[in-house]
């Protein structure tokens, strides 16, 4: 408690409050732009922090980080262009909600849910850092492997598509991620002699091709005939009492999953949002709304996403292990200031550590203050004639992909994936599972190979402890329920029809 008060005292210094607001504002603005994510934003702004006090500098960069998470959900909801992999889940419900004329409500719900998730994440980080660290350390290769397989199966249940189609898309995404140099054996996989593919395929062209390119083609004709005028006023933004009630527990559950998975290196936010979505879909009293703008499908994952973003700092600061490339840049920023993250950071730099934790609360409040009034501005973009909007979005996608390596090869990759995605989407295949499979695949393979080495080739190593067994059991249960859902539904409806025929 004393530490948190110390942190609060640090965080409310005028310079740190200014840094938080500036970071969140810049991060939100950059997060909205398709193709430019938090990593690029932090990397570009890092030199600005060199002349600052370390605490202020890290607070600024942290503000950019979760500000970008807030911003990423804007483009997910309004344009079906996820700024981050975790935001791909927001596309599933947020975009249909926007398409049905409820864009301002979707934006408000996502902002509010992010705020709640961020606050809970902050409290969990403050109170439970030692416990979180020990749980994160209990996850070895076999546990990660089991968890990612569970995510793959959970992803197959998302949206309204046939689970078999979703599972194929997850597998396809995972396969796409194998393109490039195998870091273990040093051999090229699926590069076909092209030097551009040696480093593999970048996430941004995949996301832009899957969502942006194909969505634009699908939307051109639809918007030629009908363009919904979006209301932008307080009433249209405010959820109804029923929507508030429906959102409460998903936000709490989402924050819980975010706090649990966030500290896990590599895939915390993505896993947290996928599982949050899958859980809400299972528990929802209105499952038919999923895929068409269910509020639970926005509030749960958004809360989870932000909670995971906050708790991702735990292994970064307390173990010195960056869970994501963004956290690696954060560690770089700390080290430039002469601060070494690790187990001693809390005791050697309490002002920085607790000041950062307390700044999460201020930062989330800043994000609410900045984002809610701007909802009208974001939604007004939708009232712009679509024939003016979509060429601009194409350019942002192309330039965003080009800017990765100043090379047109990334734009070519985006084009190819976009064409294939358009073909598959027009036949009922969802793009989100492919993106999730692409993101999780490197970790799945790495942990699979490590586990095989550690287990000396013995497959029972994957069932060696309670975490693995429980996770595998959950996977099987989910898989069976997914596969049997349709036959059971057909059986039940056939029985009901027979009963109806008998009565008549």
């Amino acid at each position: 408690m004393e530490d948190l008060l110390l942190g609060l005292h640090t965080a409310i210094q005028p310079i740190n409050i200014l840094a938080v607001f500036a970071g969140v504002f810049v991060g939100t603005g950059i997060g909205v732009i398709p193709g430019i994510g938090p990593l690029a934003a932090i990397a570009l702004l890092m030199p600005v922090t060199f002349s600052m006090d370390p605490t202020t500098g890290i607070v600024l960069l942290a503000g950019v980080y979760y500000g970008a998470e807030y911003g990423g959900s804007k483009s997910s909801i309004l344009l079906n262009l996820p700024g981050t992999p975790a935001a791909a889940i927001t596309c599933l419900e947020g975009y249909p909600m926007a398409q049905s004329g409820r864009a301002s409500r979707a934006l408000f719900l996502s902002t509010f849910a992010s705020f709640i998730g961020g606050l809970i994440g902050m409290l969990v980080v403050a109170v439970m850092t030692p416990a979180i660290v020990s749980v994160a350390q209990a996850f070895g290769p076999a546990e990660y492997f089991a968890l990612i397989i569970l995510c793959f199966v959970a992803v197959s249940t998302i949206g309204g598509a046939d689970p078999r189609k979703n599972f194929v898309m997850v597998s396809l995404g995972a396969l796409l991620a194998t393109v490039g140099l195998d870091i273990y054996d040093g051999v090229e996989r699926y590069t076909f002699g092209t030097s551009h593919l040696l480093d593999g395929i970048h996430l941004v062209p995949v996301a832009m091709g899957l969502f942006g390119f194909s969505e634009i083609i699908l939307s051109i004709r639809r918007n030629e005939h009908e363009q919904i005028r979006h209301r932008v006023d307080f009433k249209s933004m405010m959820p109804t009492l029923l929507e508030w009630k429906r959102s409460f527990w998903p936000m709490i559950r989402g924050a819980a999953s975010g706090c649990f998975f966030g500290p896990l290196p590599g895939t915390g936010p993505s896993m947290a949002t996928i599982l949050s979505y899958a859980v809400e879909k299972k528990l929802c009293k209105y499952p038919g709304e999923f895929g068409n703008g269910a509020v639970e499908g926005i509030t749960g994952p958004e809360s989870s996403n932000n909670a995971a973003a906050q708790s991702a700092f735990v292994p970064t600061l307390s173990l010195g292990i960056p869970g994501t490339p963004t956290m690696a840049v954060m560690i770089g920023a700390l080290m430039i200031h002469g601060i070494v993250p690790g187990p001693l950071l809390m005791s050697s730099e309490p002002v920085l550590f607790w000041g950062l934790v307390a700044s999460f609360g201020i930062g989330n409040l800043a994000a609410m203050i900045i984002n809610v009034p701007l909802i009208g501005l974001w939604v007004s973009f939708l009232n712009v004639s679509y024939r003016l909007l979509y060429p601009a979005v194409i350019i942002l996608i192309c330039v965003g992909c080009y800017s990765l390596q100043n090379n047109v090869s990334d734009v070519v990759v985006m084009l190819v994936i976009g064409i294939v995605s358009y073909g598959l989407r027009s036949r009922g295949f969802e793009p989100a599972p492919l993106l999730i499979g692409f993101v999780l695949s490197p970790m799945l393979e790495e942990n699979f190979r490590r586990a095989m080495i550690m287990g000396q080739g013995d497959m029972t190593f994957f069932f060696g402890n309670a975490i693995c067994i429980v996770t595998h059991v959950l996977t099987v249960v989910l898989l069976v329920s997914m596969l049997l859902r349709r036959p059971i539904a057909r059986f039940v409806s056939a029985r009901l029809m027979n009963r109806g025929n008998t009565k008549s």
Partner: protein, 141 residues
């Protein structure tokens, strides 16, 4: 069968990638598995599920192909790819936007040309000056 084109495409894709992995990469050993194993498993999963889809799948619903829209968007991206490094970002963006605009059937090209020009300059300002990316505004080939 034509209604199951997507499943057939995926089945062929799974078979091809599996074949490439099996013939060009090493399987390794049980302890130290090679680079072929993981992509082979994934290819197998895609192939098996797609085969099931081909044999037992429901008739696929498909959206009508919007040829004009599709061509406009693809041509726009191709134009960008071919011109960005040769004539600079501003003319490349204008050209790509006009081609993309041709993918819809409503007119107003004069107004759109002005809009595209302003947007191109704005894009250059954002990516070059604000984000520091080295993209020249205009490049004389």
């Amino acid at each position: 069968m034509i209604y199951r084109l997507s499943w057939i495409f995926l089945m062929v894709l799974g078979a091809s990638t599996g074949y490439i992995a099996y013939t060009t990469l090493s399987m390794g050993t049980a302890i130290n598995i090679g680079s072929a194993v993981y992509p082979l498993i994934l290819s197998g999963v895609i192939f098996v599920i797609s085969l099931y889809g081909v044999i037992f799948g429901d008739q696929e619903s498909s959206k009508e192909l919007d040829l004009r829209g599709f061509s406009g968007v693809v041509a726009s991206v191709v134009a960008f790819i071919l011109t960005i490094e040769h004539i600079g970002i501003v003319p490349s963006v204008i050209l790509s936007m006009v081609i993309a605009y041709a993918g819809q059937s409503k007119g107003g090209y004069v107004f759109f040309l002005v809009y595209a020009s302003l947007f191109a300059v704005g894009t250059w300002l954002l990516f070059n000056l604000a984000l520091g990316l080295p993209l020249p505004a205009i490049k004389i080939p």
